[in-house]
């Protein structure tokens, strides 16, 4: 219980200490459509599966938030934070007298894992996917061990949730089935022990298909979603293989996980990686018949190899194999401890392990609480900084400084629609246009946000298109260089008349503060 509460604390404390990432903002706005209209249409090209959106309804209902403007970052980030805990809870289900220490160690390592904590505090699918994946493995293991139907139901439910969470489920299912077949076919004892209950198998597939249909058909409102859930794989293979964005070297994950050093942070998971290797050695020398650990090793290594091969890489994908590595590292630590002959050596080794765990916890603190958004953090990836929050606040303040009934129109323009996460931060503003190019009626907008390469064209349109006498003067909104995310600048302009109102408002506030 202590481990679970501690894991929850790490995932929930100061949950909005990092500005929303583009991906988080996209998922949040998509969730807003579901929240406000009750409609969700699965998109097989982008944005992954429907579970994140539907699960987000739960905290929104609990907090009585009916519109996206009422929803905040915490409401949304709670979803991956809580679902990531499921794995830790299920891990305790395999606890027994013999493996008590290993399970406790595994749960502790996973609870405080810097990367797992980081992406559990992130409104994307990856931590949910990993939690469902390893929970399903545990459920299958328990089912084969105890032959209890409810473990089969859990396994089926988790498999459905994996499938309904992200299209990378195809890698999980491939690695999972391959690992099972390999272990099953290469182990005679296992073959004799194994028995399949046909009713259980049928029930497994009924639950799996029902749950996936439920999610992908948007609870029977979009039947096309069912076919799209399969169509998505063709898109995924082309994206993973030929997308020119996010192309990284094969060793990308190992580079940032095993050793990252820059002016701000020194990060390493090398000790745990070494214990993962130690765990594998012990497993094959002394513990060959432990099916569960054999499976975790094989499953994690296959996943790692696939993710190393796929050129498309983003840091959160490392979670898929790293959690398995941590489970084996915990086994490696415990096996090494048992092997030590003398008591004083055991004490020395225990101290060493406490230092490693403390260091790992310190790294969790660094990456999640001290430097949660800095580009130097190994887990941040095109991560906006608080600059975007203050810039959005200034835009809102400028708009709200007009107390008249007239509508204030805002236009946000960027090539390739690269203006995210602004749609999230400006979600309370009524009249916002989002464009890729500068429209010819741009002079009708009192507030304009653009990327620098559009400035010349904007000036030309603002001062040449309107008739004489209808040309408005525009003033920059931001006093300093302002970025959407590191090195991606945005520039803001406001009509002079609105800017005057804003300045008068600011003066009023200052005078009231002096009083």
């Amino acid at each position: 219980m202590i481990v679970i509460f501690f894991a929850l604390f790490l995932r929930l404390y100061d949950l909005n200490n990092r500005p929303f990432h583009t991906d988080e903002a996209v998922h949040a706005i998509k969730f807003g459509e579901l929240l406000e209209s009750g409609k969700y249409i699965y998109d097989p090209i982008e944005y992954h599966g429907p579970t994140l959106n539907y699960f987000s309804l739960i905290p929104a209902y609990i907090f009585n938030e009916k519109k996206i403007s009422e929803v905040n970052e915490i409401t949304l980030r709670i979803v991956p934070a809580f679902t990531s805990i499921i794995l830790i809870i299920f891990l305790f289900s395999i606890l027994n007298a013999q493996n008590k220490i290993i399970v406790l160690f595994s749960a502790s390592l996973i609870s405080i894992s810097p990367i797992y904590v980081f992406y559990s505090r992130y409104y994307i699918q990856e931590s949910m996917l990993v939690s469902f994946t390893f929970s399903s493995i545990i459920s299958f293991y328990k089912y084969f061990k105890l032959k209890k139907l409810y473990w089969g139901i859990f396994a089926s439910l988790f498999c459905a949730l994996i499938f309904a969470t992200k299209e990378t489920s195809i890698i999980i299912f491939f690695a999972g089935i391959f690992s099972f077949l390999f272990i099953y076919l290469s182990n005679r004892d296992l073959k004799s022990k194994f028995s399949f209950n046909i009713i259980h198998i049928i029930l497994f597939f009924i639950i799996f298909i029902s749950v996936t249909i439920l999610f992908y058909s948007s609870f029977f409102t979009n039947p096309n979603g069912i076919f799209d859930s399969l169509k998505t794989f063709t898109n995924y293979f082309s994206k993973a293989g030929s997308n020119s964005d996010h192309i990284q070297q094969w060793d990308y994950y190992l580079n940032f996980l095993l050793f990252t050093k820059n002016d701000l942070i020194t990060f390493t998971e090398l000790p745990l990686f070494i214990f993962f290797i130690v765990g594998i050695i012990f497993q094959f020398k002394k513990n060959k018949h432990n099916v569960f650990l054999n499976y975790i090793i094989l499953f994690s290594i296959i996943q790692a190899i696939i993710y190393f091969i796929i050129p498309y890489k983003t840091p959160w994908l490392a979670l898929n194999f790293w959690i398995g590595f941590l489970l084996i590292a915990a086994f490696g630590i415990c096996s090494l401890y048992k092997l030590l002959p003398r008591k004083n050596l055991k004490i020395f080794f225990s101290i060493f392990i406490v230092i490693i765990l403390s260091h790992n916890f310190y790294q969790t603190y660094l990456t999640n609480f001290k430097f949660p958004y800095q580009p130097e953090n190994p887990f941040t990836y095109s991560q906006p900084t608080p600059e975007i929050v203050s810039a959005s606040k200034k835009i809102i303040d400028v708009i709200e400084s007009d107390s008249s009934d007239q509508n204030i129109y805002v236009n946000i323009i960027s090539h390739n629609n690269d203006y995210w996460p602004l749609p999230w931060y400006l979600r309370k503003i009524k009249n916002v246009a989002w464009n890729e190019t500068i429209p010819n009626n741009i002079n009708l907008f009192q507030v304009i946000i653009i990327t620098p390469e559009l400035e010349n064209e904007l000036i030309e349109k603002l001062y040449t298109l309107p008739e004489p006498g209808k040309i408005n003067l525009y003033i920059p909104i931001f006093d300093n260089y302002t970025s959407l995310r590191p090195n991606i600048e945005i520039r803001g302009f406001v009509q002079n008349s609105l800017n005057d109102k804003y300045l008068r408002n600011q003066n009023k506030v200052q005078i009231e503060n002096l009083k």
């Binding site: 583009t22 991906d23 996209v26 706005i29 998509k30 998109d43 982008e46 944005y47 020119s244 964005d245 996010h246 192309i247 983003t314 580009p375 130097e376 941040t380 990836y381 095109s382 129109y409 946000i412 090539h415 390739n416 629609n417 690269d418 203006y419 995210w420 602004l422 749609p423 009249n431 916002v432 246009a433 989002w434 464009n435 890729e436 429209p439 009626n441 009708l444 907008f445 990327t451 620098p452 390469e453 400035e455 010349n456 300093n480 260089y481 302002t482 995310r485 590191p486 090195n487 991606i488 600048e489």
Partner: protein, 223 residues
């Protein structure tokens, strides 16, 4: 007769009738202009811009550089050759056509890995500055940007490197100490220190978005 006498009156009445008719037909009730408000388009994960030794953009227009009177863009419409002589997109001669527009149809796309272009200025000039535009439709950082001057078209002797941000010498032109920079519509201004040269060569090795190399324009300011 009667008609003749009243001709003027009839014309006036007709004009009045037509005036009232057209006013009624064409006068519209004034309504507020409807402003189109397109929704935000969903996008995928943006590429990461965490790059070692990356200059922070100025955030304001770059101040103009001083040069001796008579200095002009001596590269304008001059011949350019490239390691990729069959570009998939655009033409090599876009590089010196004087057009700095960043849209499709104004840039040339060279193949992946290290590629270079060479501009023949046709005679020796004192070169004071080079302004170079790779691609500015989106913020990008190009890697291993190396700019060299020489009087030898093969760049085997008298080679002067005036800019080099190849930090690991992966393009084999020596280890650079210059910083990476984000491409903007202003281009990258490189101080050539008045070096005398006829040929200008520029290397690059992909960018943070993809492995390909792009050029919109190169301006060589000399006299």
């Amino acid at each position: 007769m009667l008609i003749k006498q009243n001709k003027l009156s009839i014309i006036l009445y007709l004009a009045l009738f037509l005036g009232i008719f057209t006013t009624n037909v064409f006068s519209q009730k004034m309504v507020p202009i409807k402003i189109d408000l397109p929704k935000a388009m969903f996008v995928g994960t943006p590429t990461n811009m965490t790059i070692d030794k990356l200059e922070k953009p100025l955030g304001k227009p770059r101040p103009p550089f001083l040069a001796p009177e008579g200095t002009k863009n001596v590269a304008l419409n001059k011949k350019v050759v490239s390691t990729d002589d069959m570009p998939i997109i655009g033409e090599i001669d876009y590089i010196t056509d004087g057009d700095k527009n960043g849209d499709e149809g104004y840039f040339v796309e060279l193949g992946p890995f290290t590629q270079h272009i060479t501009i023949d200025l046709e005679k020796e000039y004192n070169i004071y500055a080079i302004v170079l535009w790779h691609f500015h439709k989106q913020p990008r950082v190009y890697f291993d940007v190396v700019v060299q001057l020489s009087n030898d078209k093969d760049f085997k002797k008298n080679v002067k490197t005036i800019f080099n941000n190849d930090l690991d010498n992966s393009s084999k032109q020596g280890k650079g100490t210059d910083w990476h920079y984000v491409e903007t519509s202003e281009g990258k201004l490189i101080d050539a220190k008045g070096e005398k040269a006829r040929y200008v060569r520029m290397y690059s090795k992909g960018n943070n978005s993809n492995d390909l190399n792009h050029y919109i324009e190169v301006a060589v300011y000399g006299k």
